[in-house]
């Protein structure tokens, strides 16, 4: 048992720190810190800076232009990136689609799509959820019918994150409606410029535009854009979801969030004293910090196993549940900390939209973030679904 990082890991951490200090544009970090919405240009710029260093595709093999980091290295990156207010790497193409293509895609698909992910030629979004298929994803209804060299796609996807920026979407579609749900699903790559596709914004409760509806009307998709075999899409989808769950614990975000709460509590005053001296508030903070310190170690325990080649199982579900509870609790602390100044509507908005909205603690849109991050326990398999998985696996009485 040794809780410390190896000398190599420590050297890696300082390399990461130096890179973030030298290469992360301060104006982008400032936007992230203040909760200002990033433009597509900001995200593209950060991706290209990372790609120049060879650190964009962190889990890809070096032979394909990736960094080939192990789980511990990726964890160190995530901690340092969150502390430095670096934007999150948009995961849909790089860390979700790419592993599927590497494992199940044709040589031609790999040769065509993977380099375009690195150089930013394509922006991918994920076409999984539908209005009637959320937790019960396998009940999806978007239909693809073979017509000569094409599939004709009709249906609707929803909660499509950053779909407004995307030129490509990977979709789960139903190719056989007459078999068991999971056995009639295929995995298609669809060009968003194809006639018949319409993207409609969904405005979230904090006023932000992160997600969209994507509608398909007689959209013709060339058959060479089928990944793997027809009707085997569910296998690929499940494989992809295991990659969706990397950095699921969000330790870096929680640490950065808790630091911010402490910073606010030092300058806010409560009944004439600094809030950070208030026993009720500090008790709330301490409880979260204690939970976080244990969860961070759980996370590292699982990461060391993963680095040694063991696939994470039910532990990923545990981290999702605990990690989101902790992050949401920190959002709750931040809105409490600013007191009456939680009420003004500072949106996670475009530059300049919050001019004139008072923010005496430079806290950013903490109340908007509190509401926005209710999504954490809903998306990527809701916490109820995760608890179901944990119980089924651990009790062993499952189907």
């Amino acid at each position: 048992m040794d809780l410390s990082y190896s000398p190599q890991e420590q050297a890696f951490r300082s390399e990461v720190k130096t890179f973030l200090k030298d290469d992360l544009p301060p104006e982008i970090a400032d936007k992230v810190r203040r909760g200002v919405e990033l433009t597509k240009g900001d995200m593209d710029r950060w991706h290209s800076i990372l790609n120049a260093r060879g650190w964009l595709a962190q889990n890809w093999p070096k032979s394909l232009g990736g960094a080939e980091w192990n789980a511990v290295q990726r964890h160190i990156w995530e901690e340092e990136a969150a502390a430095a207010n670096a934007p999150r790497i948009v995961p849909f193409g790089l860390s979700m689609l790419a592993p599927v293509l590497m494992k199940f895609g044709s040589k031609a698909q790999q040769d065509h799509w993977l380099p375009r992910l690195l150089d930013g030629s394509d922006w991918w979004c994920q076409g999984y959820s539908e209005p009637g298929a959320g937790s019960d994803l396998a009940s999806l209804k978007t239909r693809a019918v073979r017509d000569g060299d094409h599939y004709v796609v009709n249906g609707q996807k929803t909660w499509t994150t950053l779909g407004q920026h995307a030129n490509m979407i990977f979709c789960l579609v139903r190719t056989d409606p007459d078999v068991k749900q999971q056995e009639g699903i295929s995995f298609l790559l669809i060009d968003m410029d194809t006639p018949g596709i319409e993207v409609r914004p969904i405005i979230l409760l904090d006023g932000s535009h992160e997600v969209n509806e994507v509608w398909f009307t007689d959209v013709r998709v060339p058959v060479e854009n089928l990944v793997g075999e027809e009707n085997k899409g569910w296998t690929y989808a499940k494989y992809l979801l295991t990659h969706e769950r990397t950095n699921i614990a969000g330790v870096g975000y929680s640490r950065a969030g808790l630091d911010n709460v402490k910073r606010i509590a030092r300058s806010a005053r409560h009944n004439g004293k600094p809030l950070i001296q208030n026993p009720h508030f500090t008790a709330r903070m301490a409880q979260v910090e204690i939970d976080l310190s244990a969860m961070a170690t759980t996370n590292l325990r699982i990461i060391s196993k993963a680095a040694a080649g063991e696939a994470p199982g039910v532990e990923a579900s545990m981290l999702k549940v605990k990690g989101t509870i902790i992050r949401q609790e920190i959002n709750d602390l931040a809105r409490r900390a600013v007191g009456p100044y939680a009420m003004p509507f500072a949106s996670e908005a475009v530059e300049g939209a919050n001019d004139g909205v008072p923010d005496p603690f430079e806290a950013g849109p903490v109340a908007a973030d509190y509401f926005n991050n209710r999504k954490l326990s809903i998306f990527g398999g809701s916490n109820e679904i995760q608890r179901g998985i944990i119980a089924k696996v651990k009790l062993g009485g499952g189907r």
Binding site: S135, S139, P340, P344, P358
Partner: protein
């Protein structure tokens, strides 16, 4: 023991509930939220015509209510419908004017005057005693924070240091040296940072504890409004659980969700009782009154958060969208914790009173 509403209050509740159910649809409210003023003058006038503002005040000043239960009945309905019109402001500022015997109160009851209460300051947080705004030579100078309805108000009720004591003043919004920097609020409506610089004002002849009493009404109103909003959140969630199908059946048939819904329903009844305790003790001695008020605000803060968060979670993604009714209702519930003292502030006040 009788927990039924009197006939008059029942009528008031029925009338208001019917009016709001007809008029205050999600679409109407979303348009109001997007508007520059943050409220609808038409709805404001209609509410005044229904006598809603009159219910806040006693008969001697042209009202027809003025007790804690009158206020609670009205605000529960306002909360149920997610109303953003600034009625809380005429209640709290109006109670001060009523105690001062000010002639403005009749116009207030008729809906012809907008008010704002300018008390909290940038550094005071929820502390009602920390006033740095100064009164000297008949003029006010200082800054007030998050003054709700600051832009529409024709008059501000302002607290200021007058030598050793804190006194209350009335200021016309167009008086010299008044600056309002306005902005929208997360849960609807607007507020502003208000600065006074050698501003002429009228001293209000009221008792030292007038503001405590007025804030007591504010706390009852805020708790009742939150209760009403929690009722809507609970109703929407129950309906959704029995409608939304996943895995071939309504999600409300899953026991894990049923038990959580049951906890929400239990907390809702706790909240209802806490509002009754607070409203019923408003005329009691200061210690009993303040304990009931702090108990109510603390309990509503805790139960409100649980209900808002569980309502969103049990719905899933749909509750995260701005156009769905629950989004606004959940924001009203949680943001209520930031007015008149939050959960922790009232926990501390309760501890202080109950251990005294």
């Amino acid at each position: 023991m009788n927990f039924d509403l009197t006939e008059e209050r029942q009528m008031l509740q029925d009338t208001l509930r019917r009016y709001l159910a007809d008029k205050y649809t999600t679409q109407v409210r979303n348009d109001i939220l997007d508007s520059d003023t943050g409220f609808s003058a038409e709805i404001w006038n209609e509410l005044a015509e229904l006598g809603i503002i009159g219910a806040f005040f006693g008969g001697e000043h042209g009202g027809f209510g003025g007790t804690g239960f009158d206020v609670a009945v009205v605000f529960e309905e306002l909360g149920r419908a997610g109303v953003v019109e600034p009625l809380m402001e005429v209640l709290v500022a109006g109670r001060v004017l009523e105690e001062a015997g000010h002639s403005l109160i009749e116009d207030v009851i008729g809906g012809g005057v907008h008010l704002a209460i300018a008390h909290g300051e940038p550094a005071s947080r929820y502390d009602t005693d920390a006033v740095e705004t100064q009164f000297a030579d008949g003029k006010l100078s200082g800054r007030k924070a998050v003054v709700i309805n600051a832009e529409a108000a024709e008059h501000f009720v302002v607290s200021a240091q007058d030598g050793e004591t804190t006194s209350l003043f009335l200021v016309a919004s167009d008086a010299a040296g008044v600056t309002v920097q306005g902005y929208p609020l997360l849960a609807g409506g607007r507020a502003g940072e208000v600065t006074f610089e050698n501003t002429p004002c009228e001293a209000l002849d009221v008792a030292a504890d007038t503001l405590d009493r007025a804030f007591g009404f504010g706390i009852v109103a805020q708790c009742a409004e939150t209760l009403g909003a929690m009722e809507t959140a609970t109703a929407l969630t129950g309906e959704y659980l029995m409608t939304r199908q996943q895995f071939g059946r309504p999600i409300g048939t899953f026991q894990a969700l049923q038990h959580r819904m049951a906890d929400v329903l239990i907390e809702l009844e706790q909240a209802r009782s806490a509002v009754i305790n607070a409203a019923g003790n408003l005329e009691n001695d200061a210690r009993t009154r303040d304990m009931a008020l702090s108990a109510g605000k603390n309990l509503l803060g805790r139960a409100g958060r649980l209900v808002a968060e569980e309502a969103i979670q049990l719905h899933g993604g749909i509750a995260m969208t701005q156009e769905y009714e629950l989004a606004h209702i959940a924001k009203r519930i949680v943001m209520a914790d930031h007015r008149f003292g939050d959960t922790d502030f009232h926990l501390e006040r309760f501890i202080e009173l109950s251990t005294a």
